[in-house]
């Protein structure tokens, strides 16, 4: 472990409160540390500073120093050092702290400035709030309430601009609402390195647009919607679907790859409406890929399994578990675990495999990594399988060893935990040779061929943990209730394992974690409850030699 270097601290005075902040911090961040809100639009902590919205204007000053003696001059009235205030306001985002800096964020001048800026911003802003999707999470709304003058002096006609420009396949632009903060432009340029956005025309005719012939089509385009402080950039998918104040926010993890971007799932009454990134400076900053935002659609997708089936007939979970065990009692069992299962499920899967004396396999999913937030390993939790001991080596492509064993006739029964074996590489002939027990969420070739089908849940309907490419264990939480007929994977696996003779605790996270802590040394100090929202880095040295497929991405460098 490398001890973090102690940052140089600088003492500043914000509204009379002294605080020591790291050198290089700007005034907005420093003020945030003392609990003072400096309103801003264009400033974003993960983007460069342009200072074009002027909302963060503050007053600053330095203690006066006698030029002759170099000692601070004291105010005779108060006995405190005299401050030389700069007569003009400064922007907070573009001003870095320096020792002895004094800042006023509540002075009449600052209030005047904010009122003035708000008035200019609102001159051409349409009165769209009733139909605007940003309403409720709109900085302009909040700051007009907090810092605006409360009434309009503008009697002329407002500007008219295009209302439904398609910037790309997923982003719709309402130009009238744009306040020209340029966050989206800087994001595409600096983070995605896909510099397609820009302003054209001048003054109040300024318009955000794409470079001619190009589209905002990259896989991170929806982040521009997230960072847009107003309702100018809107998600075409979420547009006019639901007002944000109805939505319940649930912390979750993006399962599209081993990056494990932190997300928030927004749902109302059991329906998920959108997924947005959640800030985790160790994983995904404040971004996530567009592809991960669409994954909520699997919850209501066609082909969702909701009935327990044994030999193609509707059945009950208990009968299905008994039937599954019946198929497994003669030996020759293979358990295909999943890199998409949670750590807890993988641990119980391992218990099941041990009880059945089965071989264990994992499906490998590899795709091109984009170097940012989608990695090459498209399984979110391969490292979880390593940590829990479900597998010892990285999975091979196309389930090669399992295919060979089936061909050799050693395997009679395959228990698949959410994996489509046909998609993973087994041929129809191989599937036909074995009895399949399938636990899964959606219908596919494997569920069609399976003798026993047990419907389970998607990541949005259950709680658990995942281990990402950094060996960071992170938790996700149940956002919506399970559909009728489907059972939590953990419950089904625990039932199977118990019926097979393994000692498995009650299928409930706290109990499972107690057992995991005693059996898995790497996780001995962890419980689901004490796991921080930003996750916990595990010691990766036991697996350092394995040839992981991920390349470099945001906040991650491969070991070799």
């Amino acid at each position: 472990m490398i001890a973090p270097t102690k940052p140089d601290l600088v003492t500043v005075n914000i509204d009379g409160k002294e605080i020591a902040v790291p050198k290089g911090t700007n005034v907005i961040e420093a003020a945030r540390l003392v609990g003072v809100d400096v309103p801003h639009y264009c400033y974003h902590p993960k983007l460069t500073i342009v200072g074009n919205c002027r909302m963060c204007l503050i007053e600053m000053g330095m203690p006066a120093v006698d030029p002759a003696t170099k000692t601070p001059i004291l105010d005779p009235a108060t006995g405190k050092p005299k401050i030389n205030w700069i007569p003009r306001p400064q922007i907070g985002c573009g001003t870095n702290v320096s020792p002895g800096l004094h800042i006023r964020t509540q002075s009449p001048l600052v209030k005047d400035c904010r009122e003035g800026v708000m008035e200019f911003l609102l001159i051409n802003h349409p009165l769209d709030c009733p139909i605007c999707d940003q309403a409720g999470e709109c900085k302009l709304q909040e700051q007009a309430t907090g810092y605006g003058r409360g009434y309009s002096r503008f009697v002329e006609q407002k500007n008219v601009k295009p209302k439904r420009t398609q910037l790309g396949p997923r982003v719709t632009l309402d130009d009238e609402r744009c306040i020209l903060c340029s966050r989206c432009i800087r994001f595409t340029k600096e983070i995605v390195k896909d510099d397609v956005l820009g302003f054209i025309d001048r003054g109040s005719h300024s318009t955000l647009t794409c470079y001619p012939g190009k589209q905002l089509a990259n896989n991170y385009s929806l982040n521009t919607v997230d960072i847009c402080p107003v309702g100018a950039l809107t998600s075409t998918d979420f547009r006019f679907k639901m007002r944000v104040w109805f939505l319940k926010q649930t912390n979750s993890i993006d399962t599209e790859s081993s990056v494990g971007a932190n997300t928030v799932v927004w749902s109302r009454e059991g329906t998920i409406y959108r997924i947005t990134p959640r800030q985790n400076d160790g994983v995904n900053d404040t971004w996530m890929a567009d592809s991960g935002r669409e994954r909520y659609k699997q919850v209501r997708a066609a082909g969702r399994l909701t009935t327990v089936k044994v030999n193609g007939n509707d059945s009950s979970p208990q009968i299905a578990v008994n039937a599954a065990l019946h198929f497994c009692k003669d030996g020759g069992v293979a358990v295909v675990g999943s890199g998409r299962s949670s750590v807890e499920e993988q641990w119980v899967t391992k218990k099941l495999a041990d009880a059945l004396k089965a071989t264990t396999h994992l499906v490998s999913r590899v795709g091109p990594g984009d170097g940012l937030l989608v990695s090459a390993d498209r399984n979110p939790n391969v490292r979880g399988a390593l940590v829990t001991g479900l597998i010892a080596t990285l999975p091979t492509a196309k389930l090669a060893s399992l295919a060979a064993a089936i061909d050799a006739g050693q395997i009679k029964t395959v228990v698949s935990v959410g994996e489509d074996l046909a998609d993973a590489g087994l041929t129809a002939a191989q599937l036909a040779k074995v009895t399949i027990v399938y636990l899964g969420t959606h219908a596919n070739a494997t569920s069609a061929a399976a003798k026993v089908v047990l419907p389970t849940l998607t990541v949005f309907e259950k709680s658990g943990t995942l281990v990402n490419q950094q060996f960071r264990i992170q938790k996700f939480t149940k956002a919506v209730p399970a559909p009728a007929g489907a059972t939590d994977d953990l419950v089904v696996l625990a039932k199977l394992a118990t019926a097979a003779g393994a000692t498995v605790p009650a299928a409930e996270l706290a109990a499972v974690w107690k057992a995991i802590a005693t059996e898995v040394p790497a996780l001995s100090t962890i419980t689901y409850a004490n796991l921080p929202e930003t996750g916990l880095l595990l010691d990766a040295t036991p697996w350092a030699a394995l040839p992981f497929v991920e390349g470099e991405s945001l906040h991650f460098k491969p070991a070799k």
Binding site: P126, L127, P130, I131, Q157, N159, K163, F240, K241, M242
Partner: protein, 179 residues
Amino acid sequence: MAVIPVSRKPLTLLERTYLPQIAGGLKTTLKHFFAPKDTMEYPEERPAIPAGYRGVPTLVFDPHGREKCVSCQLCEFVCPPKAIRITPGEIAADAPTAHVEKAPKEFEIDMLRCIYCGLCQEVCPEEAIWLQNVYTTSGYSRAELVNNKQKLYELGGTLPDTHFKWDKKKAAEEGGNAH
């Protein structure tokens, strides 16, 4: 604080017999016996509905026949008994009111839940929902008492408008607002 004892005036003998009071009471009731009746015989006689009466909530059109509701869902949010349920929708780009962009796809008010508080009317930024003078709702099933969008517009009809906010907006759009 000083306590001021107030002694009750002792009753006279006549008062203690109760009889004058009883006679007075009998006189009063007899007066009412012949007085005109105060009861309104409801189905035949109807009360005059005062201005500002809070009857059944309805949706209204503006004088040009545009549905005023833009499905902002503020009424759904403010509704204390959660009687309102809105499914928002987008107005097609080729519709005459395309510049409004948003309109309810479905709008349901459960009259079994509604408490006629009028908060929906108060909160509506488009003056689209009004508690008007209909005060009788009845039905044989729960489903019947959920007013859907069509029913709400039937009950609401057209109300005068003083702003024509969206018409002005459309005019500005067509004028191009060169400057």
